[in-house]
């Protein structure tokens, strides 16, 4: 059984969270301004990259 890659897992979760927020935005449940959307995009991409980089170091 292959050990799960924590970096990829965390990156996937970050992208899934972003997708969920965008879905809620489309549904009208939450109201994200373009500014906050930028914050989310940068935070998710940054989180995913950091997680992936840390995962690569553990390999």
């Amino acid at each position: 059984m292959r050990r799960p890659e924590l970096g990829s897992l965390a990156a996937g979760l970050a992208v899934a969270l972003l997708g969920l927020l965008l879905l809620l935005q489309e549904e009208g449940t939450i109201d994200l301004s373009p500014g906050w959307l930028g914050v989310l995009l940068a935070a998710c991409a940054g989180g995913a990259l950091v997680a992936s980089g840390l995962g690569a170091r553990e390999d």
Binding site: R2, A43, A45, G46, S52, G55, R57
Partner: protein, 415 residues
């Protein structure tokens, strides 16, 4: 244990313009990379930059093709994932700044963004200014003649990488200054002066370009000549230390054919290894460990073992077991069949598995009639391979030789 399959999609670092994502997708789809690159640019424009963020994510998440962008020299120097972490931290810092802006904790766009850009530029330049730590000798370095490895300057690719990073850092700082001046309205007044300065600078570059080009060419030619000369000296020294010494020993032991054959085979292996630009690392690499096992059996049993190994992998506990089982099979072959001719070892490490075949033309035996107390075959070969997730098959019959086949999966990322 993984199934050993190679991922369908990998970044193609050898054809990369940025991170090799477009080239990797093109290779997976068997189309020209220019198509995916144009598509990416169109997507980036069409999605107001969201495709660029997707590119960053793809770069982080898609594994690089073997022999990625880092050269063998760079690898020990830079820890894995450093660039991903640095870019990620930069993006997180950007998100915090944007969040502050949205929340109203903000001074002024004219101050914060230039400062941010300048900070990244300074950080980049500062990281380049640190002294380069001593790199561990790489496989290529160890294989190359020592003096040559010492005098050789950093590879052109590494130098180009450092230059481009320095250029990017300088551009960030200059851009930050220009952004600040533009936000203050100073740039409008200085526009004419800047244009004049730009034209003069371009003219100076054009005038002096032939001189710089000639200088660069002369330096390159001199450097090539120096390297060739060092290389010739090293080859001569190596031939003296190895081949000539062995020939002298051969003359002295001319009366002992077995010793002469052993010397010749040892020298042949050493010379082949040197010509291939590698140094044996039997404690780290499977191919070297198998060759060392063959040599060991040859030395201890006086047999002739013809070893051919295709592919390689980093040793782990499972591959250690494969080497031990191979050594046992070689020892059996050398003990019982060395008088009937040479023992052959063939190994291939590819498609996520390592397969080893040991065969001889000896008297053979009936595997079903082997006594239960013969632990060599049952435990040291078959049992050992099973315990480590592999398999062993022994094909033999009286008077028809013996073939031992060993197979074990190889972790793809360990190769």
């Amino acid at each position: 244990m993984s199934n050993g399959r190679t991922p369908w999609l990998r970044r193609d670092s050898s054809n990369a313009i940025l991170g090799g994502v477009c080239a990797g997708i093109a290779r997976a789809l068997r189309i020209d990379p220019i198509i995916t690159r144009v598509g990416f640019v169109v997507l980036t424009v069409g999605t107001s930059g969201i495709a660029a963020v997707a590119y960053l994510l793809a770069w982080a998440l898609i594994p690089a093709s073997p022999g990625g962008t880092a050269t063998a020299r760079e690898r020990p120097r830079r820890r894995r994932g450093s660039w991903r972490i640095a870019t990620g931290v930069a993006l997180l810092a950007l998100s915090v700044l944007l969040a502050f802006r949205e929340l109203g904790f903000w001074w002024s766009d004219a101050l914060v963004w230039p400062l941010t850009l300048a900070a990244f530029g300074v950080a980049l330049l500062w990281s380049l200014s640190r002294p380069r730590p001593e790199a561990e000798p790489t496989r290529e370095d160890r294989g190359a003649p020592p003096a040559l490895a010492e005098i050789e300057p950093p590879p052109a690719r590494e130098q180009a990488g450092r230059l481009s990073r320095a250029g990017f850092g300088i551009a960030l700082i200059v851009g930050a200054g220009l952004l600040f001046l533009w936000a203050q309205g100073v740039l409008d007044a200085a526009g004419d002066v800047a244009l004049a300065a730009l034209v003069v600078t371009l003219a100076l570059i054009l005038i002096s370009a032939p001189f710089w080009w000639g200088l660069l060419r002369r330096l390159t030619v001199e450097r090539s000549a120096r390297i060739r000369s060092q290389e010739r000296a090293e080859v001569a020294a190596h031939l003296h230390d190895s081949v000539l010494q062995t020939l002298a020993l051969v003359q002295r032991r001319a009366g002992d054919p077995s010793a002469v054959a052993k010397l010749a085979r040892h020298q042949e292996r050493e010379l082949r290894s040197w010509l291939a630009g590698s140094e044996a690392r039997p404690g780290e690499r499977l191919a070297d460990a198998l060759r060392a096992a063959a040599e060991e059996v040859e030395e201890s049993h006086g047999a002739v073992v013809e070893a051919v190994v295709v592919g390689d992998a980093r040793l782990d506990e499972h591959l250690d077991a494969l080497v031990a089982a191979t050594r046992e099979a070689l020892t059996n072959a050398a003990k019982f069949a060395s008088e009937s001719g040479e023992v052959r070892l063939y190994a291939e490490i590819e498609n996520g598995a390592a397969r080893v075949f040991v065969d001889d033309r000896g008297p053979g035996f009936d595997p079903e009639k082997v006594p239960a107390d013969r632990r060599g075959m049952r435990e040291s070969i078959i049992g050992r391979m099973r315990r480590h997730g592999g398999r062993a098959e022994i094909r033999s019959a009286p008077e028809s030789g013996t073939e031992v086949e060993l197979e074990i999966p190889v972790e793809e990322r360990e190769r």
